[in-house]
C-alpha cells in the first residue's frame, strides 16, 4: 500500500464519506469505491459485484473474484428527545457502542452543557430542531420526555421520515394515549406499530441507568436484526 493511499483513506474517514477499500489479493493493487464515482480500470470490470456488496454494507472477499472489499459505513445516529436523567446514562452506553448522539430539548434548564458535556445538544422544539439535522434510515429516535407537546412532534417527524428505529418512553397507558393521538393526527395503525413503546427490553429494572440499559439493548438488538 502506498503512503499516499493511506492518507487518502484517513481523509475520507475525517470527511465522514461512506466508501469502501478494495484490495486485489493477487497483485496487491488497491482502490477506493465511492457511490457515483468512477473506479480504476483494475476494478471496473467487477463494478456491479462491488456495488452490491457495498449496498449490503459487507466486508469480505467478493465471490468468484480475488477482491477483498472493506466497507466504511457511517455509524447510526441516535436522536434523544428529552435531556432527562435517563438520557445522561443513555449517552454513556451509546458512546461506548459507537453511536453518534444528538439531544433535543426545548427546556433550557434541562439542555445544559454542564449536564451533557461534549454532546451535540439542540435547545429547540423538535420541529425546529429537525430543520437543522440530516436524518435517514441510519437514524434512530428515542423520545424520553413523555410530554406530548415535546414527544409527539418528534415522533410524527420520525414516522414520516423512514427512521431506522423509533422508541418512546412511557407506561402502557401513556403509550395507548400516544397511539390514539397519532391516529387522530392521521397516522395509520401500520405506521404507529413501528414505535417501540413502552421502549426497551424487559429487564425489570426501574432506575434511570437500568432503563437506559434496557433501551440501548433493544436498539442493538434491532441493529443486528435488520442486517
Amino acid at each position: 500500500m502506498k503512503r499516499q493511499f493511506l492518507k487518502e483513506i484517513i481523509k475520507k474517514k475525517e470527511e465522514k464519506i461512506e466508501f469502501a477499500i478494495l484490495t486485489d489479493l493477487k497483485n496487491g493493487e488497491r482502490g477506493i469505491f465511492e457511490k457515483n464515482k468512477p473506479l480504476s480500470s483494475d476494478f471496473d470490470k467487477y463494478k456491479d459485484k462491488i456495488e452490491s456488496e457495498f449496498i449490503k454494507k459487507k466486508s469480505g472477499i467478493i465471490k468468484d473474484t480475488n477482491i477483498f472489499i472493506e466497507t466504511y459505513v457511517l455509524p447510526i445516529t441516535i436522536i434523544i428527545v428529552g435531556a432527562v436523567h435517563i438520557a445522561q446514562y443513555l449517552i454513556n452506553f451509546a458512546k461506548s457502542l459507537n453511536f453518534e448522539i444528538i439531544i433535543i430539548d426545548p427546556r433550557s434548564y434541562f439542555a445544559t452543557e454542564l449536564r451533557f458535556p461534549n454532546i451535540h445538544v439542540i435547545n429547540k422544539w423538535p420541529t425546529e430542531a429537525f430543520e437543522k439535522i440530516k436524518t435517514d434510515e441510519n437514524t434512530a429516535l428515542i423520545s424520553l420526555t413523555h410530554d406530548p407537546k415535546i414527544d409527539d412532534p418528534a415522533l410524527q417527524y420520525a414516522l414520516n421520515n423512514k427512521f431506522f428505529y423509533i422508541g418512546a418512553l412511557g407506561s402502557k397507558k401513556t403509550h395507548e394515549n400516544r397511539c390514539s393521538r397519532l391516529k387522530k393526527s392521521g397516522f395509520r395503525d401500520s405506521q404507529i406499530k413501528k414505535i417501540f413503546g413502552p421502549v426497551g427490553i424487559k429487564l425489570g429494572g426501574k432506575s434511570a441507568p437500568e432503563i437506559a440499559l434496557s433501551i440501548i439493548a433493544q436498539l442493538v438488538e434491532e441493529v443486528y436484526k435488520k442486517k
Partner: protein, 109 residues
C-alpha cells in the same frame, strides 16, 4: 458495535510512518467457524515488533508479528497467511476458539 470510522489503526500507521518506521498492515480477510475478531479487523506491526490493534483474541498475534517481520526482511510487498486449527489441537497452536482465519499482510511504503 464495530464501526470502521471510529477505529484509529490506520491513523496510528500514518503516525508511525511519519516517524520513519517501516509498517506492515495485517487485515483479517476471511474467517471460518468461530473466530474472535470479524473480517476487516486490523493490526499494524513495525520493524521493532511493536504492534497496535488485533486480528484475534490474542491467540495468534505473536505468529502474525513474526510473519510481518519476515515480510519486512524479505522486502516483499504483500503476503496471505492462514491459520487452520482443529478444536482438539487448538490450544497447542494458539487459536483456542477453534476457528480458521486468513490474514493479508501488506507493507506500507
Amino acid at each position: 458495535m464495530k464501526n470502521s470510522f471510529n477505529e484509529k489503526i490506520l491513523e496510528e500507521a500514518k503516525n508511525w510512518i511519519d516517524t520513519n518506521k517501516s509498517v506492515i498492515l495485517a487485515t483479517v480477510i476471511e474467517t471460518w467457524g468461530s473466530s474472535a475478531r470479524p473480517t476487516g479487523s486490523k493490526m499494524i506491526v513495525n520493524e521493532e515488533g511493536d504492534f497496535f490493534g488485533s486480528v484475534s483474541g490474542g491467540c495468534i498475534e505473536s505468529s502474525v508479528i513474526k510473519e510481518c517481520l519476515e515480510l519486512l526482511k524479505e522486502n516483499k510487498p504483500f503476503k496471505k497467511i492462514e491459520f487452520k486449527v482443529s478444536n482438539e489441537s487448538a490450544w497447542e497452536i494458539g487459536l483456542s476458539c477453534g476457528g480458521e482465519i486468513a490474514i493479508f499482510l501488506e507493507a506500507i511504503n
